[in-house]
Subunit: 148 residues, 2 copies
DNA sequence: AAATAAATTGCAATCGAGTTGCATTTTATA
DNA sequence: TATAAAATGCAACTCGATTGCAATTTATTT
């Protein structure tokens, strides 16, 4: 489920999103593109050049701007913190497996939900306790009330 | 997607789970059974009898025991807090729709994932931004290492 | 290149859902 | 009733994430 091969271009991605090219954004996006799985804000901070000593607030603000621009997607965990991964054409939306024991999230191939239980058996999955589908968007009521 | 009609019995549910019948547990479970959608810990606190003035810590501990006994299931939101709903035979696992605008979570009927986009169109869904499948359990590595 | 306006960043403080330790109260069992 | 076990309240705490504001950096215009 890793990508690596033929992935996004940092400068081009920022330009297309209309985000100015700052050293901080380039550093964070480079980490995200090179990641082989979902990362937490703390993971990202650790993987940036220590010389840059980026503030954690900056990490969160950059992650927010990336999320708003669909450069990354945010994956909530059962532990109350979020993980992040690239959301580009090289990495379309897919299921994730979260191990409650080692608290690691791993990516799973896209699959038909009704076949999920059997299909995930071949992955790094010993036991499945729950399969949860989470749909996000805007409801009719909010659209009617012009909240968006 | 509401239940109401022919739902679980409070005393029987606690007994089957091996949980002692305390006034607090009865109050929380009654709220959960009567709920017409996922509730937050704060929602539950508000819906219990003010005369009982239950402590929020007690709410969280009761929710944990209910979750461990599969009486309820926990639904993480994009806002960093959890919602809870009954996890009994009357309410099998199903997708949820979370509106980013009004921050309300509503239940959706079980559906084939590949048909999700079209199938959810008839619900209180104006626009779908993301369909995320979240699988929870234990990975092979953790099982091998006897962490469980 | 220098000046200006706009956007980004760091720092400290703060938020808030959720947790922990411990004393007190309630429940189950004898 | 007496006793042990479990549940609860209270206060303090954790930690990921957010906010306000001043300082810095970037983009844009002379
Ligand atoms: Mn992934
Ligand atoms: Mn539901
Ligand atoms: Zn694991
Ligand atoms: Zn809404």
């Amino acid at each position: 489920m890793s990508l690596k091969r033929e992935h996004c271009n940092v400068e081009g991605t920022l330009r297309e999103a209309g985000l100015s090219q700052t050293a901080r954004r380039v550093a964070v996006l480079t980490v995200m593109i090179q990641a082989d799985g979902p990362l937490s804000a703390g993971d990202i901070l650790k993987r940036t050049d220590p010389e840059q000593k980026i503030n954690k607030v900056t990490i969160y603000r950059i992650l927010s701007s990336f999320r708003e621009n669909r450069i990354i997607r945010e994956l909530p965990t059962d532990q109350g913190m979020n993980l992040y991964e690239m959301s580009c054409r090289h990495n379309p939306s897919h299921p994730h497996f979260y191990c409650k024991t080692c608290r690691t999230m791993s990516c799973l191939p896209p699959v038909n939900l009704s076949q999920a239980q059997e299909s995930f058996a071949g992955q790094n999955v010993f036991r499945i306790d729950d399969v949860h589908v989470h749909v996000t968007g805007v409801c009719r009521q909010c659209h009617r009330q012009d909240k968006i």
